[in-house]
């Protein structure tokens, strides 16, 4: 923690700002804030709480309506200092793709220094230093579009570092990354703060990231409502919920355990919590404890809509120098009625796999021009991939693929980006009209109304609105409505909660459970969030490098944490704590949800007492 007497690098005094076209609605409403040199500050808040606006005000991308902003002794509101201020305040934005100007890493990193007129040799040195700082020095000549999300974002950070700023602002820079990429970026940021003494402002809605900071600020409706150390902030569970934020999972568990009579402090790391739990057990004289494992009842399904994938291989850009094998012999069975999770990090092949399930990528045998190859002498006949979904045989050319797509709904990542029609009604009806040509006007209206209402939107309110006038969360719901309008039996969603704030995520998952109960037999979600899968899915498959490495119920899946780590994958928080607890001789068998974990710990705790 910096000394309280140390110098303020950023100062906000009663700053107000409203966007053009929305005058009077203050995106930032009377903010007072001081940031000290060398400090690591995190800013959290729901979508639209004004935290990104704050970042843009700091370096003059936006100009305040009233109030005073001082950065390194320079007044921002005067406008003329903005270029000078931007030399000292670097911002890394959300989407790494939209921050890069050049097609080669070193050219992109050079862009900033070139703009401020740095000498050629010095630019070379800065590129080397900046790439080293983000651990990307071996990618100097690479093409950014071929890198992973985490790598791209590190390049974006390097591009900002090369200007040698004193203050680094990350504006939701990890929102679009998978856990691995997020970890990479957070490591870089922590290191820059600790080793280089850089002032860091981290804007995020991942509560777990906010914990890493020295100080945390909570924003709600343009105002700063809480300030304090992360420990202090996350003590206020009810307050955070009132600000549309959720507690970090670990705080939820601590709350539950404290309610159950345990004596715990507000720790933020799984190993610390495990230590404290173990201490509680010890104080009570419980040496070895084990919670009984639940018996898992197999759901009685009718197996009408089973999904079966056999021996699926797929190569992108075949026969070109850039050919990449995305799938290497996938075998997978998804039973009717499951809420199935497919986990893996970016580039593992999970999206390619699900696109096969509704024949967006057709099996080679089902393509028009396919002719069976004659087997070569002496070589074994290669086995052809097979996919069936319910009654549909996807390897057969004669299959009615249109009917298949009506029965297997597919919601892509960021589905709101596929909205196009003039009204929400027309957009939702688009799929229905494509699939079923002979519906009467009343039938269409009923189906559209039903699906708009089931996703939680008010039909009369939104039907004539343009989909682009909806809020972010509403857009995503409208886009989902546009897929489920045909009442698919199997619904596939690629990263349904990506980019949403914690509350939005929770609401979307609740919606999916509702759809699973009422509309669709099987729901398949593709995700890179282990906790999300552990908490929502009945069964999950882990995909790594184009292969299925594990497929089981979450409680069993995450038991073997070492092999998951070896693949660069994470395990849910509860599994981490369980692992740690084992060291103290405490075995907890839970289904990986925080609620169940806390209940099982208390059971073992209370049980020891009796």
């Amino acid at each position: 923690m910096p000394e309280p007497t140390s110098e303020n690098v950023i100062q906000f005094e009663n700053v107000k700002f409203s966007y053009a076209g929305a005058e009077g609605v203050f995106a930032v409403n009377g903010v007072n804030l001081e940031v000290r040199r060398g400090e690591f500050l995190s800013v959290i808040g729901h979508n639209g709480s004004g935290k990104s606006t704050l970042a843009r005000l700091v370096n003059g991308l936006l100009e305040a309506d009233s109030g005073k902003i001082t950065v390194l002794g320079m007044g921002v509101s005067e406008g003329k200092n903005s270029l000078e201020i931007r030399r000292h305040v670097g911002i890394v934005f959300q989407n790494p793709d939209n921050q890069m100007v050049a097609s080669i890493v070193e050219d992109d990193v050079a862009f900033g220094p070139e703009n401020i007129g740095v000498e050629r040799e010095e630019i070379g040195r800065r590129i080397e230093w900046a790439l080293k700082a983000v651990g990307m020095e071996q990618y100097r000549e690479a093409t950014p579009t071929r890198l992973s999300g985490g790598q791209k974002q590190r390049i974006a950070i390097a591009g900002v570092l090369a200007i040698k700023p004193e203050i680094l602002i990350l504006d939701e820079s990890t929102a679009m990354l998978d856990p691995k990429g997020r970890r990479e970026v957070m490591e870089v940021v922590s290191r820059l703060n600790k080793d280089e003494g850089m002032t860091v402002i981290l804007i995020t809605h991942f509560m777990e990231e906010a914990l890493l900071a020295d100080r945390c600020v909570v924003m709600n409706r343009g105002e700063i409502v809480l300030t304090g150390t992360p420990e202090e902030i996350f003590e206020n569970g009810e307050k955070l919920e009132a600000y549309n934020l959720s507690l970090p999972r670990i705080s939820e568990i601590i709350n539950d355990l404290t309610l159950g009579g345990m004596n715990l402090s507000n720790v933020l790391r799984p190993e610390e919590l495990a230590k404290e739990i173990a201490q509680n057990f010890k104080d009570k004289g419980i040496e070895n404890a084990e919670s009984p494992a639940d018996k898992i009842a197999d759901s009685a399904s009718q197996h009408l809509w089973d999904v079966s994938v056999k021996n699926l291989t797929f190569t992108y850009s075949k026969k070109s120098p850039f050919a990449t094998k995305a799938l290497k012999g996938i075998n997978l069975r998804i039973d009717d009625g499951e809420f199935f999770g497919i986990i893996g990090h970016t580039g593992s092949g999970k999206s390619t796999l699900v696109q096969h399930l509704n024949a967006l990528i057709k099996l080679p045998q089902a393509q028009k021009r396919y002719r069976a190859k004659k087997p070569k002498k002496g070589k074994p006949v290669p086995e052809l991939p097979q996919i069936t979904v319910g009654e549909f045989d996807l390897a057969n050319k004669k299959t009615d693929f249109k009917a298949l797509r009506a029965s297997v709904g597919m919601v892509f990542q960021y589905p709101e980006y596929q909205l196009f029609a003039e009204t929400v009604f027309a957009d939702v009806a688009f799929g229905l009209k494509n699939f079923k040509k002979d519906l009467s006007k009343e039938e269409i209206e009923k189906a559209v109304r039903d699906s708009i209402e089931v996703v939680g939107l008010n039909y009369n309110e939104v039907k004539d609105k343009s989909p682009f006038d909806l809020s972010g969360g509403q857009k995503r719901r409208a886009a989902i409505a546009g897929v489920i309008v045909t009442r698919p039996s199997v619904l596939i969603l690629d990263e349904p909660a990506a980019g949403l704030d914690p509350l939005g995520k929770k609401e979307i998952m609740e919606l999916l459970h509702k759809l699973h109960r009422e509309w669709c037999n099987t729901v398949i979600i593709v995700s890179h969030d282990m906790d999300e899968v552990a908490e929502n899915c009945t069964k999950a498959a882990v995909i790594s490098n184009g292969e299925v490495v594990a497929c089981d119920r979450p409680c069993n899946l995450f038991k073997d944490s070492e092999s998951l780590f070896a693949l660069g994958l994470d395990i849910p928080l509860t599994s981490k704590i369980c692992e740690e607890l084992k060291k103290y001789g405490i075995t907890i068998n839970c289904d990986c949800t925080p609620k169940d974990f806390a209940a099982k710990v208390l059971k073992a705790y209370g049980g020891g007492n009796a």
């Binding site: 921050q99 050079a110 862009f111 007129g117 200007i163 967006l360 494509n434």
Partner: protein, 281 residues
């Protein structure tokens, strides 16, 4: 549906041709094209062919890959060749069949023409096979630099080109995603008459445009945040440098043009020789 065009048709190997300065390669191509059009006889053409062969060997790109580029213009090639064959006048009538008259001059000219176009396409392809679009942009920017003095926005133009190149793969990915998403909603882009197909593009085009504008706005912010303020007081990190390869390249192509011109002046035109030969027999 849409293939990877980040690299155009760049063939990633290391070779003499790959390492040459893009400016020299651009100039060399221009020299080569000029030589092809200057050549009035088969000697000149043969010299061009010789240089082309050397270049192909120096590029280490498989011949098949170079030939594949001709495929794209094959129909055009055949079409113009046939036109030439039928409508080229002359004095040595070979075939007279109805209204079709084929003269010996027509045959010779067509052969000459086909070879010239063939070499032209292969030479241009060799440039894009050995040079990435980024290098090309750098090269063009550098070659256009003198225009700065007549207030031509060279830097801005180069930046626009390089950003366009940078976003092509991103927008292609995006297009593929939108196409897939709309296909999953039952959209059909492959059947129906032309009007139906044009109408079917709307659900792709609108989201794509909206996304392009969103990206442009975000990119603008990111560039502002990285202190971009036009070409004023700007330095440039990458400098193209001439090397020994470029000197060789320069000499070869200078020799080519000189050679072709010499042949044009001094070598007897090959056509009369052929007429003579035919007359004797």
């Amino acid at each position: 549906m849409l293939n990877d065009v980040t690299f155009g048709q760049y063939y990633p190997v290391k070779s003499f041709a790959h390492r040459s300065d893009p400016r020299i390669k651009l100039l060399a191509l221009i020299a080569y094209i000029v030589a092809l059009f200057l050549a009035k006889n088969f000697y000149g053409l043969a010299l061009c062919f010789l240089v082309l062969c050397t270049a192909i060997i120096a590029s280490r790109v498989p011949l098949g890959r170079v030939l594949r580029s001709v495929k794209a213009v094959l129909i055009l090639l055949v079409f113009t060749a046939v036109l030439n064959l039928f409508f080229h006048g002359g004095s040595h009538l070979l075939v007279h069949w109805g209204i079709i008259k084929i003269y010996l001059e027509g045959v010779i000219f067509t052969v000459f023409f086909v070879f010239r176009l063939f070499f032209l396409v292969m030479g241009s392809a060799l440039l894009t096979l050995t040079t990435t679009p980024v290098e090309l942009t750098d090269g063009i920017e550098s070659l256009l630099k003198p225009l700065k003095y007549i207030k031509f926005p060279v830097h801005e133009l180069a930046l626009i080109m390089s950003i366009a190149l940078r976003f092509i793969p991103t927008l292609i990915d995006e297009t593929n995603r939108i196409i897939s998403a709309q296909k999953a909603r039952g959209a059909d882009f492959e059947s129906g008459n032309i009007f139906k197909r044009i109408k079917a593009i709307v659900p792709i085009l609108i989201p794509l445009l909206i996304s392009a504008f969103r990206r442009a706005e975000e990119l603008g912010d990111a560039m502002d945040a990285r202190c971009y303020s036009g070409s004023k007081n700007r330095t440039k990190y990458k400098k193209l440098r001439f090397g020994w390869r470029d000197l060789i390249c320069f000499l070869v192509f200078a020799a080519l043009i000189t050679g072709v011109v010499m042949f044009n002046i001094y070598a007897a035109d090959i056509f009369p020789l052929i007429y003579e030969y035919i007359r004797i027999n």
